[in-house]
Subunit: 182 residues, 2 copies
């Protein structure tokens, strides 16, 4: 009789990070949610950064699919004058994320663009990782997207994928295409 | 009065390539389809490589969403003994893709894992690119995924994103998780 590693038994909630400068981080996250939803899993999205105007396609899709979707970052930026406000929004978003994750009601929680509050120091990466280690239900998958994923988050994550731009139509002066880019 | 570049006027169908060794190529493609579907666009999937068992989550999701989804590659591999059969399936898949793309009925066509038939020489990249240049309706987006995207395809594409593995749970001996990996 062979033994299997402890982590391989049953469902293991993963911590996934999609980072890098390239397009496709949020897009890959949406695909991951779609795949999970296809299997009847409960999914949840908390967006930390983008303004609503930048994401019509996915918000419309989420509405059609009945996914829970929260936006904490409407219009917030990382300009100096907004920093207090941005930090407060980030903290509120993280509080919501903690409540939702700890509830155990979700199979997959997407914290979209969550790396920015960490990168800009509005939230302490070590505290976020420590909270996830202590409180994330074992079967819950958490997916975090955004550039500049802090090293401590990457060290904790089970999977880290970097998206790199090889060629982008904006380089050629092409306008963003509805339904494709946003 | 300023002039805008010709390509920036109205809708410009893009050719997108998601390539690289990392996870997330097909996943990002699914997210792109979801975003387009959210805007009411007509989407279509032709899969060139994977066996059905590897993609339960997305196939179930596509069925629930009513997306058209064709599999040309059920179980085909690139082992030498299968090459004739693989090449024949790839040619049949590409014929279907040509018919569907040329019909103009789709806003976004995903040719999933289409780089492999090109890489392995079952289809000539130059002929595929030439056909797309001549026959792809201007407003139709075509998205191609897979490792080893040939240079001629990358040169023709409007957008090329490379997915790179930084860290992967299989490295740590963890089993693939249903709904997340497949």
């Amino acid at each position: 009789m062979t033994t299997t590693p402890r982590r391989a038994r049953g469902r293991q909630g993963l911590v996934l990070v999609f980072t890098g400068e390239g397009k496709g981080k949020t897009t890959a996250a949406l695909g991951t949610l779609l795949r999970a939803w296809g299997r009847g899993m409960q999914v949840l999205v908390i967006q930390f950064l983008k303004a609503e105007t930048g994401q019509w396609g996915e918000v419309k899709a989420a509405r059609r699919l009945g996914w829970e979707w929260y936006k904490m970052g409407d219009g917030f930026t990382w300009r100096a004058q907004d920093e207090d406000d941005s930090a407060a929004r980030a903290r509120a978003g993280w509080q919501l994320a903690q409540d939702k994750i700890a509830s155990g009601r979700y199979d997959l929680v997407l914290l979209d663009e969550f790396t920015y509050p960490l990168h800009f120091g509005w939230l302490a990466t070590e505290q976020v990782v420590a909270w996830l280690q202590a409180h994330k239900p074992p079967a819950t998958h958490v997916l975090i997207t955004g550039r500049y994923a802090p090293p401590a988050l990457q060290a904790y994550a089970d999977l880290v994928t970097e998206m790199r731009n090889i060629k982008h139509p904006f380089d050629a002066g092409m306008r963003a295409q509805p339904g494709i880019e946003f």
